[in-house]
């Protein structure tokens, strides 16, 4: 088994506002092994970003507060690290790429200095050497004219180039884990494909693990080995990418997969959408938080939150339908386009 880099156990995180307590994360547990990509998927406001930001202690406390839970990094409990302790880890052990490359770089600092800043704060080397390393990094992320770009400012770069710079900053100190919070949402599809490719290559080169936060299931399919689906601050289903995509168990996952039309096949004319909107995080329902939008909602769903059911391959889902007493529902297995093509070809040959 590969080495466990990060383990989060039963994390609860709330924000205390004037309007009351916002239950942003309600009992999230997951782990990340060396060299793998875990994708956290969910709609906006489901707590994806808060989860990873609170691991890196980037959420302001107060108003935020880690109420419960344990965060282990390489077997070491970092739950109650102070800002000073965690800041020595940021960049070196774990780092982050943010969604918006337009606003997450410092507009008044030269690109090269923003990259070198991380090296200088973690490693005891001369400025000259740090510059050399920064230039090497610029080459690795595929920016032309590294010498010239070292002295450029962010406004001279396009969105895709800025995101490359963000990746350079994040990886320059060779962190073991990289959190990527919607790294390609603000980019065009063609640039998105390039950035995802770059992240995959560099992940292999640096032997880093990636936690990818996104709401784009296509991006997930392209990059992730394992998936965690979040809804209203909870992970409702987790498993390998193939398990979650082809044999999903939770009605919310079904809905998410149904709401993306697939290219290649002109589908039926109405998309199956999930009606309604996510619950109010101020006042969560006492049962399953998806009950109000669920087609298969039963009485028990409104009364008690479902337990996590563990299936083969570490595939887990929290839904009352998986209880042995629940009525059976139509199978939601899906077939990959690749195997569909193969079937078609096979039929053609016959």
């Amino acid at each position: 088994m590969s080495k466990r880099i990060l383990e989060v156990k039963n994390m609860h995180f709330s924000f205390y506002t004037y309007a009351g307590e916002v239950h942003a994360v309600n009992g999230v547990s997951f782990h990340v092994d060396q060299g793998e990509t875990l994708a956290i998927v969910g709609e906006s406001g489901c707590g994806k970003s808060v989860t990873v930001q609170s691991i890196m202690k980037l959420t302001p406390t107060p108003p935020g507060k880690l109420k419960q839970g344990k965060i282990e990094y390489m077997g070491e409990d970092i739950t109650h690290y102070t800002q000073k302790e965690i800041s020595s880890m940021r960049g070196k052990e774990m780092s982050m790429i943010f969604q918006d490359p337009m606003t997450s770089l410092n507009p008044t600092m030269r690109i090269g200095h923003q990259i070198a800043e991380g090296i200088l704060s973690h490693e005891n080397i001369s400025k000259e050497k740090a510059k050399q390393k920064a230039i090497e990094m610029l080459i690795k992320v595929g920016l032309p004219n590294p010498e010239k770009n070292f002295m450029s400012y962010p406004h001279q770069f396009s969105g895709g180039m800025r995101q490359r710079v963000m990746i350079a900053i994040a990886l320059v100190c060779n962190p073991k884990i990289l959190f990527a919070d919607e790294p390609t949402t603000a980019l065009d599809v063609t640039v998105q494909a390039q950035i995802l490719e770059l992240m995959n290559t560099l992940k292999r080169e640096f032997k880093a693990s990636v936690v990818l936060i996104t709401h784009d299931l296509g991006v997930v399919a392209k990059t992730a080995q394992r998936i965690a689906v979040m809804y209203a601050g909870k992970i409702i289903e987790t498993g390998t990418a193939r398990d979650v995509f082809y044999d999903p168990k939770h009605p919310y996952t079904w809905g998410l997969l149904d709401s993306v039309p697939s290219t290649g096949v002109q589908s039926t004319k109405t998309l199956l959408s999930i009606e309604g909107s996510p619950p109010d995080l101020f006042d969560l329902p006492k049962g399953c938080s998806f009950a109000a939008r669920c087609k298969y909602c039963m009485n028990i769903c409104r009364e008690m939150p479902p337990e996590e059911t563990v299936m083969a391959n570490g595939h887990k889902a929290s839904c009352w339908l998986l209880d042995c007493r629940a009525p059976s529902v139509p199978s939601q297995k899906r077939v990959s386009r690749v195997s569909k093509l193969n079937v078609k070809e096979a039929a053609y040959v016959e």
């Binding site: 065009d188 390039q194 784009d216 997969l257 290219t263 999930i274 990959s336 386009r337 690749v338």
Partner: protein, 326 residues
């Protein structure tokens, strides 16, 4: 012009002056038409001029060349009362539901504004009745009429934006990235709503988006734009099943699908580089710098949009030479 064409765009040009003696050619010689009751999907990367096309059609921008015919009437030749009558038939749904609704107005004031401008009611009661009907049509409640935009979620706001566009009973609606700012499950809701309304009222849509899967789902025909020019147009199933232009191919290959096995079997992205600046573009094909099949003529001469079969048009020298050789 045949009677079933609602929008006819001919040689549309829209330039913006930037700095000294510099021209940003946002839209450069674009022609297409949309049939009554159909949806044209317009795709392309950001900065390729999709939005400018939409806005110019509605007369929000003046033209620098070419013309737009709406139901046989030239949009940019109309002034005053005539133009106002025309705006009643053409509406727009905007991208950002957070920025496109006036935060200081109630929903009824936002939706009713068009009714007021075009004096579409006799009594106050009739006005409110119309607003209530519109809200119910887009899946909101009567009670929502007196609320303010900040009280709604993104999906609900987009529904308000749709109700506002529908208020004046238009024939043609430009959906400018109307779903880009929304979550996937909400996107599907809005797409379903737009399609339901189309089948009820026979609207004609220009659906501008960068999400290819949604465009494939909603549109009858598709136009692919690159840097102010159309590179390929045709029936949606043709564009998606047998794309001809290298840019269309690259764009389709770049869009990831929710199917891990398929994604893993796909080769790495075809398109490298980024969209160059549309300011003072070089002569020749706009796609020349990023094209992997370019030949000599591509750097000198701009390819024209020529038909490959009845509905499928492509602007590419390489495709044309191959075709003439066959």
């Amino acid at each position: 012009m045949s009677n079933d064409t609602l929008i006819e765009v001919k040689g549309l040009k829209k330039y913006f002056k930037v700095g000294k003696n510099q021209l940003l050619k946002a839209v450069d010689d674009v022609s297409f038409s949309i049939k009554r009751g159909e949806t044209l999907g317009m795709v392309g990367e950001s900065g390729c001029g999709k939005t400018t096309v939409g806005r110019t059609i509605l007369g929000l921008y003046d033209v620098d060349g070419g013309s737009v015919l709406f139901d046989g009437v030239e949009v940019h030749a109309q002034k005053g009362k005539e133009y106002k009558a025309l705006t009643k038939q053409m509406q727009m749904i905007f991208q950002d539901p957070y920025a496109s609704l006036n935060p200081r107005k109630t929903v009824s004031a936002i939706v009713g504004e068009g009714l007021d401008i075009h004096k579409m009611y006799k009594t106050k009661a009739e006005r409110m009745e119309k607003i209530y009907n519109l809200l119910e049509l887009v899946g909101l409640n009567r009670e929502h009429a007196n609320r303010f935009p900040h009280e709604f979620s993104g999906g609900q706001r987009q529904r308000i934006g749709i109700a506002r566009a529908l208020a004046v009973e238009p024939k043609f609606i430009v959906c400018d990235e109307a779903i880009s700012a929304l979550d996937v499950s909400i996107q599907a809701q809005i797409i379903n709503l737009l399609m339901k309304l189309q089948s009820q009222y026979e609207f004609t849509y220009l659906f501008i988006a960068h999400d290819l899967t949604m465009v494939q789902h909603i549109s009858d025909s598709t136009a692919v734009m690159y840097l102010g020019t159309l590179v390929e147009t045709g029936r949606t199933e043709d564009i998606f099943s047998k794309p001809l232009h290298p840019y269309t191919k690259g764009l389709l290959a770049a869009a990831p699908e929710a199917d891990p096995d398929y994604e893993m079997s796909k080769p790495s992205p075809i398109l490298t580089g980024e969209v160059p600046s549309p300011i003072n573009p070089k002569p020749g094909c706009r796609f020349f710098g990023r094209c992997n099949v370019a030949i000599e003529i591509c750097s000198k001469e701009r390819p024209a949009l020529v038909p490959v079969d009845e509905h499928h048009l492509v602007a590419c020298h390489v495709v044309n030479t191959l075709k003439s050789e066959v």
